[in-house]
């Protein structure tokens, strides 16, 4: 099974996984790593390296970071220099839900592209949805 790793500031990744599990049930081969106050970036980098190894069952590991340019993203970029892997900057519920529930029957490349599109489509102006619904009724 494709592994999924979320690297974020604080507990965002872990909380996101917990929220997805509330909907889709307990998930395996997924891990979150967080950067907290006082944490050494070098230690987090080591933990990223170890998680990439641990989660790789042969189909690869898809990595998510919270946003481009932050320390988690920069550390992931440094790890990429050593061994290439796929990573998306931008983590939210729709993306993680998609990633964790569509790992079977997809290659990691397909999963990554689907997740990227889901992320792009995930911001919706709810007031516009409401306005259209109101016009129909």
């Amino acid at each position: 099974m494709i592994g999924v790793l979320a690297v974020t500031h604080g507990d965002l990744g872990q909380a996101c996984i917990g929220a997805v599990e509330l909907i889709a049930g307990e998930q395996t081969n997924v891990k979150a790593l967080g950067l907290h106050h006082g944490d050494s970036p070098d230690t987090l980098k080591e933990n990223i390296r170890a998680a990439l190894k641990e989660l790789d069952e042969g189909e690869g590991v898809l990595v998510f970071v919270d946003f481009f340019g932050g320390t988690p993203a920069n550390l992931v970029l440094q790890c990429m220099r050593e061994k290439p892997f796929l990573c998306i900057a931008g983590l939210n519920m729709p993306v993680l839900l998609q990633a964790l529930t569509e790992r079977e029957g997809n290659t990691i490349e397909e999963l990554e592209k689907t997740c990227l599109q889901t992320g792009k489509d995930s911001f919706i102006e709810m007031h516009e949805v409401y306005r259209k619904m109101s016009e129909q009724h």
């Binding site: 569509e102 079977e104 949805v129």
Partner: protein, 87 residues
């Protein structure tokens, strides 16, 4: 090709958990499946796809299944939707 129409009877419509259950069920079949509702059509093997339809309780939705296990898929989907998708 198998086409069925069913009415969503989950109390809150096709919200996250029923959508997750429906997607999990659809993923078991090799057939390609389409879910149609509100003039939109999505692949119900994706939770996000199902949720994007915003289907409230009482809505009639259509499924089309095409492939080697289309009959089995249509039957299982109809049973699952009619029984409330685990709600």
């Amino acid at each position: 090709m198998q086409s069925i129409k069913v009415t969503v009877c989950s109390k809150s419509g096709l919200h996250a958990r029923p959508a997750a259950n429906l997607a999990k069920l659809c993923q078991k079949f090799k057939s390609s499946i389409q879910l149609k509702a509100n003039d939109k059509s999505v692949n119900p093997k994706s939770i996000i796809g199902i949720l994007s339809l915003g289907v409230p309780c009482g809505t009639e939705v259509g499924f089309t299944c095409e492939g080697p296990d289309e009959e089995e898929a249509a039957k299982a989907i109809a049973e699952a939707v009619n029984s409330g998708l685990g709600e």
